[in-house]
Structure formats: C-alpha cells, structure tokens
C-alpha cells in the first residue's frame, strides 16, 4: 500500500524511467522506434513504391499514369541501344573516376597519416577539408569556365601548342574526379591512422624494404578504407546529372531520369532501379571486404 502511494506521487518521467530500468528490450524498442519508423517505413517504403512504379505505364494519349502491371519500361531499357549505352557510359565513368581518385588520394592520405609532422598534419587535414565545405555548384562552375574556349586551361596550354579537352566526356571524368577527391582522401587517411606505427617498425626491423613494408603491411591493412572511399566516389558519379549537363553534351543515367520524371514517371522509376541494383551489388562486395568499418 505505502509503496504504491509513493510510486504514484512520482512525476510521469520518473515513472517511465522506472519502467525502462532493468528492461533492456524495452529500452532498445524505445530507442529504435523513431529511427526505424523513418528509415524503414518512409525510406525503404519509398524505395519499394519506386520498384512498384517501375511496372506502371503512361497512357500515350492522355499522358496519365496507368497503375497496372507491365514490363514495358524494362523491355525498352534492355532492348534500346540508347539506354544500354547510357548505362554503360555512366558505369564506365564511375569506375574511371574511382580509380583516378584512389591514385591521387593515396599518396596525400599516406603523407598526412605517416610522414607529416604534427603541425603539417593539422594543416593538411584542414586543406583537404576546406573544399569539402565549399559549394558543389561553385566548383563545377569553376571547371566550366576553366574548360571553356577562352578559359585558363587553353590560355596555359596554347603557348605550348596544345589544347585543353574542352567540354565532353573527358571533362566529366576530370571534374567528377575533382569533386569527389576529398571523399576518397579522408577515409584512407583515417584508415592509415589506425595502422599502429609499431607494425611498420616491426616490418622495417625484420629487414623489409620500404616498398615491401608498403606492399605487404600497409596496403593490405589500408585496402578496406580505400573500398570505403570508393563507395562514395562510385555512387556519387552514378547519380550525378548536374556536372554532366554543365560540362558536356552527354547523357548519363541521372540526366535521363531528370528529363523523364515529369512526362514518364514510371520509366524514370525503372531507370532509377539501375543505380540501386549496381550500388547494392557494390555494397555487398564492399561489406565483405570490411569497408563498412571505415565509412
């Protein structure tokens, strides 16, 4: 009787706290209710609706969406060479951008993590971070002016009798490699930081040359971080359409989605499934390689 009276006098918050006490399952449930509602119901739900939408069609006369079931969108995706080319062009660019960024990023990240002194490291981290915070569009705009006929690239190359790449696929590759470079540097840097210096010393003390130490010790340990970085460079390239529009006349998956979304939503949905499938395959490989620890 008396305990009950005491309990009922407590404020509601305390009562709830008492309810959670010693009930870990209830705690987990309460913690996860909000995040799963958002991510499962809203986000995964939307992806599922997108999948369903891909089977709808548009009435060619009225332009209205017919919510039936048809594989028409997928048929045109597979059969029409235009779309096959676009998908392949996008994926190929994503691969090239990813490789380019890995090659440029690794020495920078390595120098930051293992060679530079305390002060040099701090300065380099800020130097690499800064462009990450400046606007995406500003950077694309800058490249657009630099690559133009009267831009700084031609101005610098013309006296040597050379000519810049101008607008086109090379420009897309160059600009995207530029844009996503920090996303590659930072995970590799963090991954290299995690490798204890004692491991490197041990390898050196056992007589390995710097190159052997690099190949046998550092590279295998840093590889998952490179894969983590590649998730971003790959995914960002797959979905971009603004850079493509600003520095080339090409069509990437994103451009077709963006241009068909108002007139042919079901087709846009079917096309959006392509990057989803590619990325899920990529992520499952990346996960096996241990990349998720480094995101």
């Amino acid at each position: 009787m008396t305990t009950e009276a005491v309990v009922s006098k407590r404020p509601a918050g305390r009562k709830l706290a008492g309810l959670f006490h010693g009930r870990p399952r209830l705690q987990v449930g309460a913690l996860l209710a909000g995040p799963t509602a958002w991510l499962v119901v809203l986000y995964l739900g939307s992806l599922t609706v997108l999948l369903v939408t891909a089977f709808w069609t548009v009435d060619p006369l009225s332009g209205e969406v017919i919510k039936g079931f048809s594989v028409e969108n997928f048929e045109s995706l597979v059969n029409e060479p235009v779309y096959r080319d676009i998908v392949w062009r996008t994926v190929r660019t994503a691969i090239m951008v990813t490789l380019t960024d890995a090659v440029i990023a690794f020495p920078i990240a390595f120098y930051m993590a293992k060679v530079a002194g305390r002060r040099g490291k701090a300065i380099l981290v800020i130097a690499v971070l800064m462009p990450l915070w400046s606007s995406y569009l500003v950077k694309v705009l800058s490249w657009r002016t630099m690559l133009s006929q009267d831009g700084i690239i031609n101005w610098a190359l013309n006296p040597l009798g050379l000519h810049g790449p101008g607008y086109g696929l090379t420009a897309v590759w160059l600009v995207m490699s530029y844009l996503w470079l920090p996303y590659m540097i930072l995970p590799i840097y963090a991954g290299l930081e995690r490798i204890p210096n004692s491991l490197i010393s041990a390898s050196e003390d056992l007589g390995a040359s710097p190159f052997t130490t690099f190949r046998r010790v550092i590279l295998p340990l840093a590889f998952p971080a490179v894969v983590a970085g590649s998730i971003f460079t790959f995914s960002l390239t797959l979905g971009d359409f603004i850079t493509v529009r600003l520095v080339s006349n090409s069509q990437f998956i994103g451009n077709v989605i963006a241009s068909s979304i108002t007139n042919d939503l079901p087709f846009a949905a079917a096309l959006a499934l392509v990057p989803i499938v590619v990325m899920i395959a990529y992520l499952s490989v990346a996960r096996k390689l241990g990349a998720f620890e480094h995101i």
Partner: protein
Amino acid sequence: MRLSRRARGLLRTAVGVGLAFIYIPLIVIGIYAFNSSKILKWPPPGLTLDWFTKAFESESARESLLTSIEAGLIATAIALLLGTLAAMAVARHRFFGRETISFLVILPIALPGIVTGVALSNTFTQVLGIPLSLLTVIVGHATFCIVVIYNNVVARLRRTSGSFEEASADLGAHTWQTFRFVTFPSMKTALAAGALLAFALSFDEIIVTTFTIGAGEETLPIWIFRNLFRPNQLPIVDAVAVIVILISIIPVYLAHRLSREEGGAAAGKGGGAADIAEVTAAP
C-alpha cells in the same frame, strides 16, 4: 616511417600536385568574382567590386540563403534526434538485426542522391498526396543526414565504456539521470561535430532538393543553378559563391577546434586522429 630521401621527395611532389589540383579551381573562381567584364575570359581584363554590391542587394539570393539555413537547421535537428537514438541502441545493446540497422542508416548516403530524391518525391506525390514543398525537402535532407550523426555518436560511444552508465545506475540514478549526467556529456562534442557536418551536407545539397522542392521555393544551390544560365546573373552568382566559400571557413575551423579539444581529452589513446576521422569521414 623511415623513407629514403628520394621516396620522401616523390611523396611531397604528389601531395603538392594534389593540393594544386584541389585549390586552383577555387582560386580561379575567386578571381572571376572580381572580374570587370561579364564574359568569363582568362585573364580577366580588369577588377571590380561591383558584383559583391549587387550580390548583397539581390533579394532572391538573400531569400534563398535564408531558406537553405531554415532547411539545414530543421533537417539537422531531426537527424540529431534519430541518429543519436539509433546510435545508442546499436552501441549499447545487443539485439537481433543490429547489423541491419547500421546498413539501413548508411543506405541513404550510399545510394545516389537521385534515387533518394526520385523515390521520396514519387511517394509524396503519388501515394501520400502531399504536395512538394520545403517540408518535403527537409524530410529528404534529414534522411541522408542521420548517418553523419549516427557515425559520430557510435564512434564516441564505442570509445567511452558502458561501465560508467552501469556505475551511474548502480549508484541509484534512473535512466534519464544517467543520460543527462553521464551519457550526454560524453558525446556532446561528437554531436556538435556531427551537427556541423549534417548542416553543411544539407546546405550544399542540390540533387535530392531538385526532386523534392515545391514550385515557388528556392534553396541557395537551386538559386545558383537557375541563375547560372542567365548571362547577366553569372558574375553575381560568382560573387555569392565566393561569399559562401568564405563563410564555410567558420564551420571548418569549428570542426577542427572540436576535434582538437577531443584530442586533448582522449590523450594517450591517439584520440585526436580518430576524432578527425569522426568529423570528416562521411560525405
């Protein structure tokens, strides 16, 4: 690491070339903001401050800036709440499907933005019948910002032992008290660093925004994009861009300070570097 002189020299060169690659475009666009001509020809014929005056006078630029700040703040607040909850569940409890939660949180940022944009806008307009507006933009932004907060908080919680919380409970603190006096203080800086990054992501986002924004509204990136193609507006866009770059130094500096303070607190564990990674390792 012990390196030969030559290897060191080669590495330095690679770093130098990399940094030049990163900074030359930013410097070029900075110079064009003072260009006296409307034509973007290199080198600029002369310099002027006119575009900055015009940029400050542009009402649409100002309005879109405020819209971006509003969207960024609300999206960050939602992400702070959801990301922290999910992180506490994953870092402090064992349950079925724990791995799936981390996968689920990463998914919106691992999939291209266009997928998130198209999927959400499709659901809003076709299924839920909600017209696109700033609210739908905020929902989209919050979705991909959750991961940033989540990663920061999980990393922090893993480095601080759960035994402090157990001790607190053993000493008679109830769930809220333990959170308020033990858990929260230990993750305060991780939350701040995550919030900065989440805000920056939202502030700069254009692809998800393009698909989820209402007809009459503009965030700053949308404003920039729309004005890029108007020849008369281009120099003003450039001036706005330079102003934005200069403002962005503040969060970089703050994030760096936060990670440095942490480095001090976690001294002896090599905490500084791990914290920098926390602040940075997510786009």
